[in-house]
Symmetry: C2
Amino acid sequence: MRIAIDGMGGDNAPSAIVEGCVMALKEFNDVEIVITGPEDLLTSEFSKYDYDKSRVAILNATEVISTNEHPVMALRKKKDSSLNKALKLVKDKECDAVISSGSTGAFLAGCTLVIGRIKGIERPALSPIMPGMKGPFVVVDAGANVDCKPQYLKQFAIMGKVYYENVINVPNPTVALVNIGAEEEKGNELTKETYKLLKNSNLNFVGNIEPRDITDGNVNVVVCDGFVGNTVLKMYEGVASNLLGTIKTALLSSLVTKIGALFIMPVIKTLKNKFDYKEYGGAPFLGVDGICIKAHGSSDARAFKNAIKQSRIFYLNDTLSKLKIELENNTDDEK
Amino acid sequence: MRIAIDGMGGDNAPSAIVEGCVMALKEFNDVEIVITGPEDLLTSEFSKYDYDKSRVAILNATEVISTNEHPVMALRKKKDSSLNKALKLVKDKECDAVISSGSTGAFLAGCTLVIGRIKGIERPALSPIMPGMKGPFVVVDAGANVDCKPQYLKQFAIMGKVYYENVINVPNPTVALVNIGAEEEKGNELTKETYKLLKNSNLNFVGNIEPRDITDGNVNVVVCDGFVGNTVLKMYEGVASNLLGTIKTALLSSLVTKIGALFIMPVIKTLKNKFDYKEYGGAPFLGVDGICIKAHGSSDARAFKNAIKQSRIFYLNDTLSKLKIELENNTDDEK
């Protein structure tokens, strides 16, 4: 497969991105890369590594879209941006997937405007896989759509189901609606209406899930509007990072605790593995008619390599076609 | 001061509640308690302790409202419930505050129906104080109102400010709006409109706060609708409890890690203190024309004692009068 990489997105571009690409080229023989950005800069970055040059092409792009810019305006103005050029490669079928760790808003807008949505999908959704205690879970939507209608959330649920099924390889995954109470009648207008739609769908719907229980990982697909989903995601990151930071500071606070730290290395490793966001690398915009993976803005080389890995699983499983079939099957049961 | 206690609310009623009352009676000489519930049961619980009997009255109540019941219906039907009777004590000015660890919905409905709102307040808000890295913060609203208007959120901000100022003793506390982006134009319709109201108020408004940064504790008053606020609260609890649980399990997993655990006792204590929800005991329903403290449903005796402590600070600082004055001052600047 051939993957379009926005070489200039995110905090660590282009160095971490280039290194991640080199890692991916070594791990996956079937991957080719077209990376966009200033040719000189990217050539110089790649020259640091030993890799199969026949599988990498650099497409010159002179402009960069920053996270502070208005997404749609920036996309229209900066025609020669690394993001625009990467998106166009998928639109023109020259690449099978596109990955960017740049502005979420600009990437989402670009996916919709340049590549387009799957027929019948009203809003694409950002769908990260997160580590849970008993297994990973996917949050749909984690921030693409802040004001939602029940019908959007139903589509999020269907897309999340197919994605989880194919990427995590769990058939008929459980689906729950994020709500601030377990009972059907709890919540706001959006969740009450969405509950009815999900209950009457052919999904493996297990009811409401309270935010307290999400990270247990007992439910596979967690559905909510983008405002709530982003809150779930960012609270998870914030609390975990503050807690682990507190532990680290406290462990280094005295000789005694430093000695203790040596004894509990397995504990620290367990924690690190359980709460490692970088393992899944990136989150797809489900609902776009192409494979579009948003890598975290602060991705390091390994996280970026894992985003490439993810796009590869998405591609090899033909998840996009399966998504379209599932959406068609679920349109029928509403009539 | 005299405090009405719902003796039958929450998971550990009445034993933890009675024990918490006895602890409070010992700690605070100026506190008297009227506790509601089945007289025999409460008398028998109190008989386990040595305490100043002249400061405790038991008011017989034969019914209990559970968390599974419809709040308003249960209140109307169960006139002789421990909650109804406790609320009536404040309504009739026989008590200065009411505390319950029972159903949040029934308690909120009861506060509004039996005691009533402060003039001008459209929706009372649940306002817990949470431990942050650099200091505590208050979330308004944490779950009382799931569908909100910008004007409600402005009132939440004003009430949160006065509460934080008086209970944590920080003058002119910082106020921020929970949003999924830092910039003014980010967010959903509710946050965009609310941002404008807060910017033009006389509050110490510092802009949007992303969920990732809430637990840092750099901002004192965190404003949001009740759905988002409850998500913030419950994600905090869920992630912290899962992380600490993982650490505990891993520490007990081998002899080596058990030895390590002995060395790092100070680390464990630091963690325990930093993330101790029970320290603040309960959350007031700000906006009710009385002191109404919701204690956590799973409160143990110490948490319940701290809820009593909190109602006492609220009362001694005359927070309710200050709240009314601040609300009047802030009505003017809208005209």
